[in-house]
Symmetry: C2
Subunit: 324 residues, 2 copies
DNA sequence: AACAGGTCGGACAACGTTATCTCAGCTCTG
DNA sequence: CAGAGCTGAGATAACGTTGTCCGACCTGTT
C-alpha cells in the first residue's frame, strides 16, 4: 500500500480512500491510484482491513454432519447460494454428529470472527455458544433446535409429513406397518415417530413395538431390520423408512426376499425413480433448507432483532420407483 | 487481552506467551493467565494474530463447479478430511465452470490470505493466478490442468479408462458404439474420446461421427441423444456414457424404448446398483481425488520445492445394475 | 478583495496480536 | 565471592489497514 502511494504520488490514506470508494475523492486522483494498483499488482489484505474497521469479516461458518451425504451437501449448496448473494465466504466444517467436535469447530470459527454460524446441532448441549452469541455472533440451527441455548432454527415439518405418510398407508388398508427408524435420541426421528403414532391413534390403532426398529442407520442395517420383521409370524404389509438410506435398505430386503409390501418414507433422491419397487416419498426441498437458514442468518447479522423463530419447511408427496 | 493481563497481574506479552504455549514461561504464571482467561471468557482473535506473525492463516480455498453434484461434494469431503488433519479451515466456493467467476473467487480468496487454493479450472485462462503464486500462494489444479500457468495437478486416468471400456465393448463383438459425451472444449471429455478412439484404431475400426454426441450434458440431453441414435437405420448396439448422469439418460432411453443394448461408462454412484439394466462402469475414487489434491497442496505449503507434478488416479471396473 | 463555507489530503493513532530487544534477577562456575 | 551465562518478563514497535482530526486549498459571495 505504501508502494502504491509512492507510485501514485499520494498519501497512504488517499490510497485507502480510493480502494474503499470514498465518494468525496477526486476521480482523477482515484484513477491515478488505480493505475498504480494495476501497475504494482497490489491486492488489499482483507484481514488487516477488517481488523481496524468495524466492518464484518464477510464470512459465515456452516457446521454439518458429513459432506458425503447428499442431504448435507444440498444444504451447503443452498447456503452457499445465499452467502454468495451477500458477498460472503462460506467455511464449511464437518462435526460428524459429535457434539465435542462441533463445539471445537464452532469456537474455532468464532475465533476467526465469522459473522454467523449455521449449525446442524448434534445430540448434546449447545450452551457453549451463549458467550459467543452475547458477543454478537449470530447463530441459526438447521434441521433441529439447539439445546441449552435459544436461537433461530429452520426445520422440516417432520410430524406432518409422518402423519400424512402413515395416514395414507392406513387408508390403503394396511394394519401391520414396520417402521425403520434411527436412534430416538435424535429429535427429528422422534418427531417422525410422533407423526406416525398420531395417525395410528386417529385410526384407533396402536403401534406394535416389534415393528419399530431404531437401528436403521444405514441401508445395510435397514435391510437387516426389514428382514427380521418379514420373518415374524405376522409380518408387516407396509414399511415406513426414516430417510433415503432406509428406503434403499427396505427395497433391497424386499427384492432379495421376493416379497411384496407397500413402501413409503422420507426424502426424495436423484435415483429414486430407478427403485425396483413403487415407493411414495415425503420430499423436502433440502437446498431450500440451506437457503432459508442462510437468509435468516443474514437477517440477524444485519441487525434484525426479536425473539428466536422456528421456521418449518413444508413437504410434498411424490411417487417414485417401479421403473422398468 | 489487556483485561486478561490486568486480571492475571502480568504484562500483555506474557498473556501472548501463555496463549501460544511458549515453553520458557513459568508454569505457575501461565496457570494464572489461563485462570484469568477462563474467568473473562477471552478468546484470541485469530485474524489479528496472523496479521503480525509470519504464521499462515490456516485456511485453504476450494473452487469447484457445483456443490449439488456429488462428484464435487465428494471431492470437497476428501479435501476437508486432509485439511482437518492439518488443523486448517476450508472455504468452498462454486464457480459454475465460468472462468471469470473462478478468477473473481480465487482472487478474493487470495485477498483473504488463504495458504493455498485447490481449483477445478474452468475452460479458459488461469494465468491470473501467476502473481498470486509468485507471492507465495500455492495452487493445485484438480481434474484438469490449468491453462497459461504451471502448477501441480491431480487428475483421473481418463484415457486408460476410456480405452479399457471401449476395448471391452469391442471384444464383446459390438461394432456400432454410441458415445454420449459433453462439449469437447473440456479436456476430460477429449481424453475420454481419445481413449475410445485409440481402442477403435487398435481394433482396425474408426468411429462413426453420427454416433458421437457432444451434447449429453445432463440426463435429459443424454436420453434425447440416445433416442436419436436408436432411430438411425443402423443403430448402436452399445453405448458409452461420459459420466453418471449420461448413464442415467442412456438407461432411461433404453427402458422407455424397450431396447436392449450394452451400456458402459464412467463414474460409479451410490444408486448404480438399482439401474434396471446391467452396466459396466469405470469408477474413480473421487474422495481420493480430493485427498490427493489437498495432500499435494499441503506439501507445497510446507515448502516442498520442485517442478509441478501431475498425478493420475487409477480406475476400477465395476459391474452394476440389473437389480431385480 | 476579503471572508465564509466547503472540499480534499495528510498526519497520527488505533485495531489485537506477535517479534524484537532489553534488562532484572537468578544460578553456576572458577 | 565475583563475574559470566542464562532465564524469564516487560517495553516497544510492528503487521496492513482504516478512523479521526486538522489544516490547506478552493470556490463563491458580498
Amino acid at each position: 500500500m505504501n508502494d502504491v502511494a509512492r507510485e501514485a504520488g499520494v498519501s497512504l490514506k488517499t490510497v485507502s480512500r480510493a480502494v474503499n470508494g470514498v465518494p468525496t475523492l477526486d476521480p482523477a486522483l482515484a484513477e491515478r491510484v488505480f493505475a498504480a494498483i494495476r501497475t504494482l499488482g497490489y491486492r488489499r489484505n482483507e484481514l488487516a482491513a477488517t481488523l481496524r474497521s468495524t466492518a464484518s469479516t464477510a464470512t459465515i461458518g456452516l457446521i454439518i454432519g458429513d459432506m458425503r451425504n447428499s442431504f448435507y451437501s444440498s444444504v451447503a449448496a443452498g447456503t452457499y447460494e445465499i452467502a454468495r448473494e451477500h458477498g460472503t465466504h462460506l467455511i464449511t466444517a464437518s462435526a460428524e454428529e459429535q457434539v465435542e467436535l462441533e463445539q471445537e469447530l464452532a469456537l474455532a470459527l468464532c475465533q476467526r470472527r465469522v459473522d454467523g454460524l449455521l449449525i446442524f446441532p448434534a445430540v448434546g448441549d449447545q450452551s457453549y455458544l451463549q458467550p459467543e452469541m452475547d458477543l454478537g455472533t449470530s447463530v441459526v440451527f438447521l434441521d433441529r433446535p439447539g439445546t441449552g441455548v435459544s436461537a433461530d432454527s429452520v426445520r422440516l415439518d417432520n410430524v406432518a409429513a409422518a402423519h400424512t405418510l402413515a395416514s395414507m398407508v392406513l387408508e390403503e388398508g394396511h394394519r401391520r406397518v414396520g417402521l425403520l427408524l434411527d436412534t430416538l435420541e435424535v429429535l427429528t426421528i422422534r418427531e417422525r415417530l410422533d407423526g406416525v403414532r398420531a395417525a395410528f391413534e386417529e385410526a384407533g390403532m396402536t403401534l406394535d413395538d416389534r415393528l419399530i426398529s431404531t437401528t436403521a442407520h444405514d441401508p445395510e442395517a435397514a435391510t437387516k431390520a426389514t428382514v427380521a420383521m418379514l420373518d415374524l409370524d405376522d409380518p408387516p404389509t407396509a414399511f415406513i423408512g426414516k430417510n433415503n438410506r432406509a428406503i434403499i435398505g427396505i427395497v433391497d430386503a424386499l427384492v432379495t426376499r421376493g416379497a411384496r409390501a407397500r413402501v413409503v418414507g422420507f426424502d426424495d433422491f436423484e435415483m429414486s425413480r430407478f427403485l425396483p419397487r413403487p415407493v411414495t416419498l415425503a420430499s423436502f426441498d433440502v437446498v431450500e433448507l440451506g437457503r432459508r437458514g442462510a437468509t435468516r442468518l443474514f437477517d440477524r447479522i444485519a441487525g434484525s432483532a426479536g425473539e428466536p423463530t422456528t421456521e418449518r419447511l413444508p413437504f410434498t408427496i411424490v411417487q417414485r420407483g417401479s421403473y422398468r
